[in-house]
């Protein structure tokens, strides 16, 4: 039995169908597969990108925290220094002010003392003249004894001064 020709034609029909499938069926399957591959690749890439973004954001946040910590330390430091400076300045001003007040008080005291001394001297001179004139029974010529009185007054002035 000769099956040569029929086998050849069967083969041809088979290859014709195979060609048909290759031409019209295969591209659909391949495109579906490629689309799926692409989707998976995109998904993985997106996940990677997301992870990377997250890492970047974390690093950035850490950087910002570090920076702000340094800044805060600087601010605190500056504030401390400033307050110290202010205290020092206030201390200085107060000391100057105190010195000034003390000096003023001293001046006032000195002026007051001088005035009091002057008044006292005049009063003493007057008292002396009065006393003396009563003692002598006559009026002392203040003008004539001015020189003497002056010396007396100076003596009085000197004696409390030396006694001081």
């Amino acid at each position: 039995m000769n099956i040569g020709i029929t086998l050849v034609i069967q083969g041809l029909a088979f290859f014709a169908v195979a060609w048909l499938v290759m031409k019209f069926g295969w591209p659909h399957i391949m495109s579906a597969i490629e689309e799926r591959q692409k989707k998976i690749a995109d998904g993985l890439a997106a996940a990677d990108r997301g992870q990377k973004d997250l890492d970047d954001a974390k690093a950035q946040a850490a950087e910002i925290v570090k920076e702000s910590r340094v800044k805060a330390a600087q601010v605190v430091d500056q504030a401390n220094r400033r307050s110290n400076a202010l205290i020092d300045e206030a201390k200085g001003t107060a000391a100057v002010e105190a010195d000034r007040l003390v000096a003023g008080a001293r001046d006032t005291i000195a002026i007051d003392a001088a005035r009091a001394r002057g008044e006292l001297r005049t009063a003493v001179a007057a008292l002396v003249v009065q006393g003396t004139s009563q003692l002598l029974g006559r009026e002392v010529n203040a003008a004539a004894h001015a020189d003497l009185l002056e010396r007396l007054a100076a003596q009085i002035e000197q004696s409390p001064a030396s006694a001081q």
């Binding site: 039995m1 000769n2 029929t6 086998l7 041809l12 169908v17 597969i33 998976i40």
Partner: protein
């Protein structure tokens, strides 16, 4: 006399084609091709699974993933019971039946012709390469599915309820008398239902593939025994080509559809077995 001789040749040819390679009552050819295709399927899937990557898959892995997802989707849609076996079983059935059916696509004389050419006794060198065109194969698969249906029924319902349903479903009745009256028709219906499933499952696939193969054989008869010197051969050759082409192209759909039906019915039967009445 020439036509008679041709008719005789044709009969011999068809008979030869429909004769299994037997050895001790076993259809060795069906067994061989089924085992070979099963090995091909298993090795392919294991190989791809071994080299599977969680990253961007290759084209083959992609294809198999799509296949697995397709079958898994079908199972998830249909089967709501417990059973890790169902999806892999459905995938195996689909792929294996498709591969076995696909043997029908090969030129009908190719492998048998080679077997004849290699054999010392060409007239006794029988070979049928489509395992699903052998009732033994399809009945064997259907019987396996039948056993699984019973197993899933018992697993999901328990022995008492499973056997109780033999006499209490589909007809329900109140009262003792009604229950007894319903028991007989229930049992009969159940037995018929159970018997029909493997028979219909196997006969459908077998019938389709056997018929397909037979039509390929009949188409092949058009130029059978022809020679290049005969005018008839030149007339019939294009007709055979066109007929063969159309039938092959059409058969692409048939083999896929039959594989799908076998898989789908298996899932449906198993889900019905897992369901409570």
């Amino acid at each position: 006399m020439a036509t008679e001789e041709a008719a005789g040749g044709m009969t011999t040819y068809i008979k030869h084609h429909l004769h299994h390679l037997e050895m001790g009552g076993l259809h060795v050819d069906s067994i061989f091709f089924k085992v070979a295709l099963a090995l091909f399927f298993v090795l392919l899937f294991i190989g791809v699974a071994r080299r599977a990557t969680a990253g961007v898959p290759g084209k083959l892995q992609c294809f198999i993933e799509m296949l697995v997802e397709f079958v898994d989707g079908m199972v998830k849609e249909t089967f709501h019971g417990r059973g890790k076996l169902v999806a892999p079983l459905a995938l195996t059935i689909f792929c294996l039946v498709f591969l076995m059916n696909f043997m029908d696509m090969l030129p009908v004389d190719l492998l048998p012709g080679m077997a004849q050419a290699l054999s010392d006794h060409p007239h006794e060198a029988y070979l049928r390469i489509v395992p699903t065109a052998d009732l033994n194969t399809t009945l064997g698969m259907a019987f396996t599915v039948f056993l699984l249906i019973q197993y899933y029924g018992i697993k999901h319902k328990g022995v008492v309820k499973f056997f109780g349903e033999f006499v209490t479903a589909p007809f329900h009745a109140e009262g003792v008398v009604g229950k007894i009256l319903c028991a007989v028709p229930n049992l009969l219906l159940r037995l018929i239902e159970e018997a029909v499933r493997p028979v219909s499952l196997s006969l459908r696939l077998f019938g389709n593939m056997y018929g397909g193969e037979l039509i390929f054989i009949l188409i092949a008869c058009m130029t059978l025994g022809g020679s290049l010197t005969s005018g008839m051969t030149w007339v019939m050759a294009p007709v055979q080509f066109i007929a063969g082409f159309i039938w092959t192209a059409f058969h692409v759909l048939v083999i896929t559809l039959q594989a799908f039906i076998f898989m789908m019915l298996t899932i449906v039967y198993l889900s019905m077995a897992a369901e409570h009445h």
